[in-house]
């Protein structure tokens, strides 16, 4: 009974703000509403006994991704004037796309034979660690290298851009700026 109650509460915590994210006209509000959804999902992981996953969800999504999302939302300028009401042309393509995604997900959920059983309450951390270092060491290292490459790439992109301007242009503008 209590388990059901917890489930319903977590579901509400996840779904209601999710609607808010989608329908809020204020993009910053949408960003903050995402907080609750992400926390709700973390709650589900915990509820299912995946404690490591739950905390990771908090750490990565709330502590990292959400902050980035909020930063992006706050720092980009949303033109306040000229924000049109959503017309049909804006509504139909996303609706079709959403329906397609829903269809795929529904198919997956119904087709896959889920292994239903009691969630194990034993801690998963040590097990995950051992698995990562033994059976899954290759994917683990592979992902590390991909991430490293991404990081190096990002750094190079920034360096490239900052060297783009020619010195002549700077000198010219400095000249112009002088009173």
């Amino acid at each position: 009974m209590i388990r059901d109650l917890v489930f319903v509460l977590l579901a509400l915590l996840t779904v209601v703000p999710a609607f808010w994210v989608v329908f809020s006209r204020n993009i910053v509000h949408a960003g903050f509403a995402l907080l609750f959804t992400l926390v709700g999902v973390a709650g589900f992981y915990g509820f299912l006994g995946a404690d490591f996953l739950a905390v990771t969800q908090l750490m990565v999504y709330v502590g990292g991704v959400l902050v980035l999302v909020l930063f992006t939302v706050m720092m980009t300028h949303v033109p306040a004037v000229g924000r049109r009401r959503h017309g049909l042309d804006r509504l139909v393509p996303p609706a079709v796309f959403a329906a397609a995604v829903f269809g795929v997900l529904y198919k997956v959920i119904t087709v896959v034979k889920w292994n239903v059983g009691e969630a194990s309450t034993s801690p998963t951390t040590a097990e995950i660690g051992t698995q990562l270092m033994t059976n899954y060491v290759f994917p683990f290292e592979y992902v590390s290298i991909v991430l490293l490459a991404a990081m190096v790439g990002a750094a190079i992109l920034i360096r490239e851009r900052s060297h783009a301007g020619s010195d002549d242009a700077i000198a010219e503008e400095k000249q112009e700026a002088r009173p």
Partner: protein
Amino acid sequence: MKLMYDFFTGQLGLGAAGANITVAAVMAVIMFTVMALCAIILTWMERKVAGFMQSRYGPMYTGRFHGWAQAVADMLKILGKEDIIPAEADKGLFKFAPILVLLGSLLAWAAIPWAPDFVAADFDLGLFYIFAVSSLVVIGILMAGWASNNKWSLYGAARGAAQMISYEIPLALAVVPVVMRAGSLNPQDIVIAQQGGIWHWNINPITNPFLFIAFFMYFIASIAETNRGPFDMPETESELVAGYHTEYTGMRFAFFFLAEYANLFLVSMIAALVFLGGWWAPFPGMGWIPPALNFIIKGVLLVFLNMWVRWTLPRVRVDQLMHLCWKVMIPVSLLCVVGAGVWMMAWGQLK
């Protein structure tokens, strides 16, 4: 905890789930009370320490003995203040932000083991969990700064968020060598691994010098993580007026205030349990001291150290702060992780 659980199941005849929830509720109330008390005591302590550093007395009158009631009086005063919400503020977010900030520190408090088996939320991922929920504070600060609709607040919030997510990295990395040594993320296990006097504590440079360095990395990062001087970028009263809480008054301001001191004590307690042997007494034969008292004394000493630093050093500039984090502390912390691992392998200390 077990005792309490048994009491509820045995004496009161509650079911397992009911007892669990009751224990959680009781612990939550205890934690919140302790936290609020802590904040009040630490405010008083901050004033006295600042006074001590600055060759003056600090509060002396309220409550007769060394102004002990000053913090209480302040709290009462702050409760009586008008609650002002700026007309152009984003009202919903403005009201919610202080709660979120306080929630972040309160949730983290749950995983602190005060004494053997006395912990509100005892689970294997304790340390990881503490760092994870602290990120709620970042969101709260961003929310406060944005909702205030004040340029200074926004600057404070942006600085705060950038600072806190940056310093979370060396903070967490500094703890990793200890986790490696104890072979567990559970705070209780980490403390138990340090049993047997001061030379068994993780800070002992002879057992593992890298842990000794990690302690200082942790300490510096923890000052930044709590937004206190010399790293008080989000507030910087002389630059940003009061940073992200410029527009807050009364009770809502008190929430930020409470959270600051709760966080201060939190990071100090984590340092105590990770590096300074938690509830163990420093020398054998001192076993008569209650474990919780040992633990609190260590925490308070670290708080004192933190205050000492705050009242000694000037504030760094915001770009220097980032420079320190990304170019000095993160490399050194990474080095500590690798170095500690190699050291433990070499001396066979790995579990």
